[in-house]
Symmetry: C2
Subunit: 427 residues, 2 copies
Amino acid sequence: MKKVRIGLLGCGVVGGGLCELIRRNRGVVADRTGLELEVQRVLVRDPRKERPVERSRVTTDAAAVLEAPDVDIVVEVIGGLEPAREYLARAIEAKKNVVTANKALLAARGAEIFRRAADRRVRIGFEASVCGGIPIIRAISAGLVGNRISALVGIVNGTCNYILTRMSEEKCTFAAALAEAQKRGFAEADPSLDIDGHDAAQKLQILAELAFGAELDHVPFPVEGIRLIEDEDIRAAAELGYVLKHIVVGKDLGDALDLRAHPALLPDVHPLAHVRNEFNSVLLRGDAVDEMIFTGKGAGSLPTASAVLSDIIDVSRNGHDHAEAVWHVPASPGRPVAADLESKYYLRFPIRDVPGVIGLIATALGNRGISISHASATLLPARPGHGNVKIVAHRCAESSLKKAVGEVERLPVLAGRAVVLRIFEEG
Amino acid sequence: MKKVRIGLLGCGVVGGGLCELIRRNRGVVADRTGLELEVQRVLVRDPRKERPVERSRVTTDAAAVLEAPDVDIVVEVIGGLEPAREYLARAIEAKKNVVTANKALLAARGAEIFRRAADRRVRIGFEASVCGGIPIIRAISAGLVGNRISALVGIVNGTCNYILTRMSEEKCTFAAALAEAQKRGFAEADPSLDIDGHDAAQKLQILAELAFGAELDHVPFPVEGIRLIEDEDIRAAAELGYVLKHIVVGKDLGDALDLRAHPALLPDVHPLAHVRNEFNSVLLRGDAVDEMIFTGKGAGSLPTASAVLSDIIDVSRNGHDHAEAVWHVPASPGRPVAADLESKYYLRFPIRDVPGVIGLIATALGNRGISISHASATLLPARPGHGNVKIVAHRCAESSLKKAVGEVERLPVLAGRAVVLRIFEEG
């Protein structure tokens, strides 16, 4: 039996979940792997707080974890950029293998961290940084390692998916669904990281770096959230045979990558269309496996702790001096993000009730080269004299569409900004 | 760059796919893993046949592959019990790491093979033995290694799923759907291994051994196929809010395991209900991750080759002298398979058209303690004087139900054997 002494940085939701999971399943893990797991030392800010480990193991001294000779592996579950970055750098310098759940840090400084680790020949496990309990990092880097991955599509933010599912199934407003998500612990008090798409974008970056072997630390790509979605967009989507989801898309176009995080209308038969509530799902397209879909809980204490634990075991089993077996110093440099791709679009224009308003808007779009396949106007019973025109536009370049929408928004019949959503037609 | 010299046993659908995949993606694999893959020698029966490797590498002499000093890893894709079993034993004896796609062999002789491997401290990769390209073995043994797995439900036979999907979507007969599956290469000329449930049962056995840590080489459990399913069972299921699928179920009941492979009615909202055509899908329930679902192509040349390749890489990276890291000499001995579990049931009785036939059958069932929630009788337009009575029975023990159905089958109004399908109600 090989002993693995864990130095834990942080003991909040994920760290506490990890302590609980190790306590509960230590025997199972020992039977399966021959490893005896021990939470050796835990770095916390407030040593007086009740923790799921013995008080003698708790410390406020980072060096007592990072540089301790009796710690074999350092597990970072503090989150945020600093001091997490500094701690990881010190642990790597001290030649400790490292496991981190910190997607923000990997998205911002991943390349630097992985280079340091390769130099010092230590391993970094980061399964928990993307989609919690779903072993998606392992799927790409091990299960599908022999595939060229051409595309990925994912529902990777549980908060957005929970809100959109509730809006769809209970016909409630965005605000009501957000409040419910907060009540049930799926959304933070300040939900902007989730609902504005930034959390999803960080996960996309990490997945795309891995899938396409490109360094993307400082590569901007389009990111949109779900704040402007109204229940009637969801209803209109359903009438047209679509489901509204917040997705991330990554595609290898050869010279460039197509990367984006935004709400989109998925065809009702799309494999991700029926992923509900807080579940995450990632579809990968590989040249050998074709389409592969991984679905599960993407956040939460125990699912994330499960991913951290799988990394601790993997790194402890296989961590001796073969840092070349760690993917993550990308072979190829960053590739540009493709701009101005074509898509079908769903548009909603808030209007004042004017006769002939569909004609006005359709003409304005048509004059700018945007042709449309559906148009409908509805009035808001609760707001006399106001309504919406909803339009489905044929495939067109994003730049042309945005220009045309900008022009329509200046028409005097418009009562507000347009909602512009891509219609996702690929597999 | 570390060279990996592969000794390939067999060069049919999977072996040919592997040669093709290595040729195509050798560079990608080298970039990602630092491994240089070489198909060193290929054992075939007919050396004159055209192969996707140089003729000089082809041999009919097993020893030239199994015991060759210039072969690092032996890959078995012959299938069947013998000579595959003997070859694997010789390779292990010669201290070669081994990769196999052979589910029939692992289901029949897995325990013996894994024990030999542990004794000789070599590794066995067997990702390709279950669900082709889906990295489900890796998910259980690595991604979810920190979880106690309490249940698994899977659609693991692509032929059955293709047939049932076509019958459902095209309203065609079993025979027509089977013919289409054979035409498209999803079913063998002799399809009985697939459509009678034996292929699914072998996969269930391997998954259950891994998930529940039990040795199940000679443990019988209920296995049923889809031969008796008619399109009207599928229509009746749909009317009741269910989808008819061939599934495998494994559950850890503590003292015993619940293991079975059979067609069942899944609620329309079940995560596996909309897995279509030749796709496979496995749902696992872990104590930390909750529900996790893996979906993809479960068979075919390149998907299976992808799994073989992932094992070659994994074993070559991590294969040095730590056989304890290979799961598969189960810690606990086999556990009994639970018998006579309760379920809701769908029953179809072919009848001669007799007035009051629903009453006759319902009374016969009721007299034997089976209470029912739905009953309907339909006549067959194509076969005057004949019809079907379809019944939904409340939860009852399998033994009581079978006894009652046996009695009903003896009623003079019956025109044939009953179709008995479980209604799957769990998550």
